[in-house]
């Protein structure tokens, strides 16, 4: 009888173990801000540091500004910036917005800039800044930025030679499975003014060229305008590898030529 009980208990325990649902191990830890230094200048005893989540590249970049004095981080009253590309015989800016206190870490100010060309023989980028310190001092200067070329920016022109800068805003690192798909679109009114375009219709089509003349698409939702030049949809990569996503802009019933982003999707 003892043997009977032993085996009975063993089997019941096994069944209970199987019946038990898996633990919900939701990770509530907020990931810390991981920044890399981009450049640093010192003006009037203040050290202005520019940091970013990745090396600056063509397309959208989130820039983090930090002000220090005597090694102590201080919070400025305001920061005003303007990216500038010096091409020798001409200069132009880029789409950007002004820095605001970063929600994820209030020691930083944060802004977004869309570099529309890489640094190199054609020219170099600097960001002009004006900072109001906590003591109402005004400091200004410029900080050089090295911008690498990337696949995340392209442009297209309409029949009237109006240019549209199309930025692949998300996913920054495409992975297999569901990804937010966000484009950011600007146009150029002048060399210093690049307003967002909010009234476009986007027709996108992801495609995996698998070689041998064959390939296929994957599940996706066409992005739609959500304001400030953003167009949001989603894309669901079925596999890793090199994907292309074509984008056709329709502006006031005018269908512009197709542009194509080509990029690598990683398995996750």
């Amino acid at each position: 009888m003892n043997m009977l009980k032993l085996w009975g208990y063993a089997a019941l325990l096994a069944i209970l173990a199987i019946a038990a649902t898996s633990c919900d191990t939701t990770d509530n830890n907020k990931p810390e801000l991981e920044l890399i230094p981009v450049n640093q200048v010192t003006v009037d005893g203040y050290t202005i540091s520019l940091e970013a989540e990745k090396e600056p590249e063509t397309g959208a970049n989130t820039l983090y500004w930090k002000l220090e004095q005597n090694g102590n981080i201080i919070t400025p009253q305001s920061i005003s910036i303007q990216p500038m590309m010096d091409m020798g015989d001409m200069m132009h800016s880029a789409p950007y917005n002004q820095p605001k206190t970063a929600e994820e870490d209030d020691r930083y100010f944060k802004n977004m800039a869309v570099f529309i060309m890489p640094s190199g023989s054609m020219g170099s980028w600097t960001i002009n800044f004006e900072i109001t310190t906590p003591t109402d001092e005004m400091i200004s200067g410029e900080i050089p930025v090295e911008v690498a070329s990337s696949w995340k920016l392209t442009s297209v022109r309409d029949d009237n030679d109006k240019v549209y800068f199309i930025t692949w805003y998300a996913p920054q690192k495409p992975v297999t499975g569901q990804n937010d798909l966000t484009f950011l679109i600007h146009t150029r009114e002048s060399m210093m003014n690049f307003p967002a375009v909010e009234d476009l219709v986007l027709d996108v089509y992801p495609y995996m060229d698998m070689g041998g003349g064959s390939g296929h698409s994957t599940d996706f939702t066409n992005p739609v305008a959500t304001g400030d030049g953003f167009y949001e949809g989603d894309i669901n990569y079925s596999m890793s590898g090199t994907w292309t996503t074509s984008v056709v802009l329709v502006a006031a019933n005018d269908t512009l030529p197709e542009v194509v982003f080509e990029y690598s999707v990683q398995a996750q």
Binding site: T176, Q178, G212, H216
Partner: protein, 738 residues
């Protein structure tokens, strides 16, 4: 089965004679369980007595020195009584009604009308299953055919080894678990075509259970068997041994099998490339019987297959490994109101590698210009227990089981073009299946001639993926948030057996079942289906598939002859199948997603006759037919075999046995053209011959077989890719028993 046997035989209850001189117990040779309600007859066939609930009967050996013992489910046995005789072992035989079909795979010395096993020792498992009426196989080459019961394969049937859940690791179904049990290790097949055994099978699905041979308490035995076949150069070597200690309390059995084959040749001397295989199978079991009557058994199977060609597929299996272990505790009988009969704990892991490095990938139609090595793995743990209980004067059988399984599968795609980045897909990632069920079985005797059986089962089943990224694919595809998918599933059956007289019986079953999609249907991703050429994605939100199955069976049986006709009708509701995903499909890549597509029906029947004309000649005929229709699309379901059958004649003379067989199938013109890419199949008939002779006092047996004698070039309708069957081949087998 034993209990059903009990009830059947109670119809023929005869008060036992009161002679007390000799008390003898009847035992099942395979499991040493008592054989109850067996008929004990004298030389004239008059019933003297029957065995009691413990298998005992009493008899006066002086009055009846020679008896014949017969029991439903067992071979009749003639016994000469002597004073020291305490037990008689009966060999399990075919017990047949439409609810359950028990097929004995081990060889029998004597000829009888139940002849399924006649060629089992020289056949592999695939051929063995393919010869049973109501069963067919989906074929992808020469190896590991996928068993199908009444047109239902894979997720729509239960396929188990000793009741254990074993999930295949290959997402392309290259490794049906039947390949892990050699016929030499098969004790019996338990086939429940109607699925009415819901208390134990849990789902109401048709069930095929491979019951393995265990260690037996008898003196040392050793069997060596070898076979060689041309023209595919097939060679097979098998060694089986069993030994127990003098007390009989400890027994060990070991079996090893090695087989290897080259490409086979179809009719008209056409060599079919990529049909080679190599396989090693080892099986060890141990049994210890306690003084209390309890016993414990351990059983371990390891199976290694290498270089397995699949001409119907894009790839070949480079390696397939299976490790299947179990420990089972058998409890001695007791009179307690709540009794445990058996507790089984098991674990198994299946691993499968395949690739297409030996294929011309540059010129194929699908997945052109790339190599696609794939890997799959399943790990399953489970337990089963069953027993009897009595409550408020009603006794019933209970079955409790549970298992948890983890599945993984991936595929690389390495382009021949170095400029193209390698691609990678998770077909299954961290997919977990959990299942717990409780079943009850009740049997009632409505009258002297009518037995009723009711079974019910309640089951909790859940599936999920533990990987967020993998889950996000399905969330994006269906625009829903994914959590653990779980369902309570109910199934029930009612069966009636009407024994009109001692020859005619009528059986009826009504089965209701609920099925949750399996891990492939819910969480499979980018899985190529060779039957329709589509890539499939799972759907975690599939509704429960429900079925009503009705079947009837009429059997006429005597000691020498039997005829049996079975008819069935199975109605599917919310049938699970793939629907086209147009948005992502292209000319080269067509995708489907699983969905509940509507209703479907499968109906058909089987006919079987077994006739012993005399002690020299016996005949056997089997015919099966299926009609299967997708009612929503109003077209046939795919991979349904046509009208088919086989006829055998056995000629016995002394130590010689000659068997001739005609295996045939009608044309199949009912094909699925919307949901599949199958085509019509022509009729065929082939002739097989076998000659067996025993030598050296029956210690040595030789079997010479010629299959497809006329070298006919043909393929079955369930051969994926229309891969032809083997042409004329000749095999010589030798078996020696020490």
């Amino acid at each position: 089965m034993r209990y059903l046997t009990f009830f059947i035989l109670t119809l023929f209850w005869v008060e036992p004679a009161l002679a007390q001189d000799l008390s003898i117990q009847l035992l099942d040779r395979n499991n040493q369980q008592p054989v109850i309600q067996a008929h004990i007859k004298d030389d004239t066939g008059t019933v003297i007595t029957v065995s009691d609930v413990n298998g005992f009967f009493s008899i006066n050996p002086k009055k009846y020195p020679h008896i014949v013992v017969s029991a439903v489910g067992y071979a009749s046995k003639e016994v000469h009584l002597h004073p020291g005789l305490k037990s008689i072992y009966l060999k399990p035989q075919v017990f047949r009604d439409d609810t359950e079909l028990l097929v004995v795979a081990t060889g029998e010395d004597q000829n009888n009308v139940h002849a399924y096993h006649q060629r089992a020792n020289t056949q592999n498992m695939d051929q063995f299953l393919d010869n049973i009426d109501g069963l067919s196989t989906n074929k992808r080459g020469a190896f590991a055919w996928e068993p199908v019961i009444r047109g239902q394969a894979d997720q729509r049937m239960n396929l188990t080894i000793d009741g254990m859940q074993v999930f295949k690791a290959c997402v392309d179904k290259m490794d049906p678990i039947t390949s892990y049990v050699e016929t030499s290790n098969l004790s019996k097949l338990h086939i429940d075509k109607s699925g009415s055994g819901v208390a134990e099978n849990g789902s109401g699905n048709s069930t095929l259970d491979l019951v393995t041979q265990r260690a037996e308490h008898h003196p040392f035995s050793l069997q060596i068997q070898s076979a060689y076949r041309v023209p595919d150069n097939y060679r097979h070597l098998n060694l089986t041994t069993n030994i127990s200690d003098p007390s009989g309390r400890n027994a060990v059995r070991f079996s090893g099998s090695y087989k290897k084959a080259n490409d086979f040749t179809a009719g008209n001397d056409r060599t079919i490339n990529n049909t080679q295989y190599e396989k090693l199978n080892l099986n060890a079991s141990y049994k210890h019987t306690f003084r209390s009557g309890h016993s414990i058994e351990g059983n371990y199977i390891t199976d290694k297959a290498y270089d397995v060609g699949y001409p119907a597929l894009l790839m070949d299996a480079t390696k397939a490994l299976a490790d299947i272990g179990q420990v089972q505790f058998n409890f001695a009988s007791s009179d307690a109101n709540f009794q445990l009969d058996k507790v089984q704990l098991y674990a198994n892991t299946i691993r499968h590698w395949m690739d297409d490095y030996d294929r011309d990938v540059a010129n194929r139609a699908v997945m052109r210009g790339m190599y696609m090595p794939m890997y799959g793995e399943t790990v399953t743990y489970g337990t089963r227990m069953n027993g009897k209980a009595a409550l408020l004067g009603h006794s019933f059988n209970w079955f409790l089981d549970g298992y948890a399984s983890h599945a993984y599968g991936d595929m690389e795609m390495n382009s021949l073009d170095p400029e193209i980045e390698d691609m990678f897909i998770y077909n299954l990632r961290d997919v977990q299946t959990r299942n717990v069920g409780l079943g009850l079985k009740h049997q009632f005797r409505a009258s002297d001639k009518i037995l009723l059986k009711l079974e019910e089962n309640i089951r909790y089943k859940s599936l999920d993926t533990g990987n967020e990224s993998f889950a996000s694919f399905f969330e994006g595809l269906y625009d829903r948030e994914l959590d653990t998918r779980q369902k309570i599933l109910l199934s029930a059956s009612g069966s009636a057996l009407w024994m009109l007289n001692d020859r005619w019986s009528l059986t009826g079953n009504l089965v209701y079942s609920e099925r949750m999609g399996n891990h492939m249907e819910l969480f499979g991703h980018y899985i190529y289906n060779y039957t329709d050429g589509f890539f499939y994605d799972g759907n975690p939100w599939l509704k429960t598939e429900r079925t009503f199955n009705t079947d009837v069976n009429v059997t006429w049986e005597t000691d020498r002859n039997s005829f049996s006709i079975s008819l069935f009708h199975k109605q599917y509701f919310t049938y699970i199948d793939g629907i086209l995903a147009e948005d992502v499909s292209s000319n080269d890549f067509k995708f489907k997603q699983y969905a509940n597509v509507g209703d479907a029906v499968i109906m058909g029947g089987e006919f079987r006759s077994l006739n012993n004309i005399n002690h020299v000649i016996s005949l056997e005929n089997r015919i099966s037919y299926l009609y299967a229709q997708n009612q929503s699309l109003n077209e046939p379901l795919p991979l349904i075999p046509p009208l088919k059958g086989n006829s055998l004649i056995h000629l016995h003379h002394g130590k010689n046995m000659l068997m001739g067989e005609v295996e045939w199938a009608a044309a199949q013109n009912r094909v699925a053209e919307t949901t599949s890419i199958e085509d019509q199949t022509e009729a065929f008939a082939v002739i097989n011959l076998s000659f067996e002779r025993k030598w050296m006092g029956s210690s040595l047996s030789s079997i010479l077989e010629v299959n497809n004698l006329l070298d006919h070039y043909y393929h079955t309708h369930t051969s994926i890719g229309n891969i032809p069957e083997a042409g004329r081949n000749l095999m010589l087998s030798l078996r020696y028993n020490f």
